[in-house]
């Protein structure tokens, strides 16, 4: 059951047709988000037009959580099943998640400058997000140093699982500490969203669009990882064959 589901997930990620469909769907959803963010949604009464950054900033933060959740789940699967494809998926998701976390930090800073009067503040949400960025940048650095050895992949998988602990801390930071960052207005425990309907609709379209962009990038990065692994294995085999042939030739020459 698990094996069959896992085969389906990996096959779907490697399917060129599904990848193309995801690109088209992501492009259409992004056009809808742009229309919603710039034309349909009203300007915020207090912050003005700069508040519209929210329609990409929040969806990108959600996608970063999703990406690091996939890193943790894939790392657990790798530790359990010892299949390298889970390791490739974890690494792919970490890389894409890091891109989105970088964008969350940058778009947040761009919003913060006109609203807070500063690009950066050592606020709980910003600081825990920066820690998240450092954790996964470290994870990818470890990956590049340890190469393809299984012990290195196992170590990286443990880091991938432990790193995810920061995700709920990032999410809850605005509730646990007094912060400059706005309080949650969409996902609130036991409460409904406090946004006007037009803004909420555009935000949800933005979430769908960014999720589709994420799926596209993840599928592409995973395909690169799997192809790279195939090429490396094939070249390793070719090298071993050449070495064996040389040894036999030398043995024959020496009688």
């Amino acid at each position: 059951m698990i094996e069959s589901l896992s085969d389906r997930i990996h096959a779907a990620l490697l399917s060129p047709r599904l990848r193309q469909a995801a690109i088209v769907a992501a492009a259409l959803a992004m056009l809808a988000t742009l229309f919603g963010a710039f034309i349909y949604a009203p300007a915020d009464a207090i912050e003005g037009d700069v508040q519209r950054i929210f329609y990409i900033h929040v969806p990108m933060a959600w996608v970063a959580y999703l990406a690091f959740g996939i890193v943790a789940a894939s790392s657990l699967m790798f530790l359990w099943r010892k299949q390298s494809r889970w390791d490739v998926l974890a690494r792919s998701s970490a890389e894409v998640g890091l891109i989105f976390t970088t964008l969350v930090l940058l778009t947040g800073a761009i919003w913060g400058r006109p609203i807070w009067g500063t690009w950066w503040a050592w606020d709980a949400r910003l600081t825990t997000t920066l820690i998240l960025w450092v954790l996964y940048a470290g994870y990818l650095t470890i990956r590049s140093f340890v190469g393809e050895e299984e012990s290195g992949a196992r170590f990286a998988a443990v880091v991938g699982v432990l790193g995810f602990v920061d995700v709920p801390i990032v999410h809850m930071s605005v509730t646990w500490w007094r912060t400059l960052h706005p309080q949650p207005i969409v996902v609130r425990p036991l409460e409904s969203p406090s946004l006007p309907n037009e803004m909420l609709a555009v935000m949800l379209v933005g979430v769908v669009a960014m999720t589709l962009v994420f799926v596209t990038l993840l599928a592409l990065r995973y395909a690169v990882g799997i192809a790279d692994e195939r090429l490396r294995l094939r070249r390793r085999r070719a090298y071993a064959r050449a070495l064996l042939a040389t040894t036999r030739t030398l043995e024959a020459a020496n009688g």
């Binding site: 950054i53 778009t107 761009i110 962009v213 592409l220 790279d228 090429l231 094939r234 070249r235």
Partner: protein, 48 residues
């Protein structure tokens, strides 16, 4: 910079980074696929 300037920079930066990354990945995938095809071709020539 006024409010619209910040808004424009945020959206442009996000899209530039996402599209740039997508192009890099597309390039890497086609380069590796080409290498795999070349290796396949060389293997079949050797076996003949």
């Amino acid at each position: 910079m006024d409010n619209l300037g910040y808004l424009f920079v945020a959206f442009a930066l996000a899209w530039a980074l996402i599209f740039g990354y997508m192009l890099i990945l597309g390039g890497r995938l086609s380069r590796i696929s080409r290498d795999l095809d070349r290796d396949d071709h060389e293997d079949s020539e050797e076996s003949q």
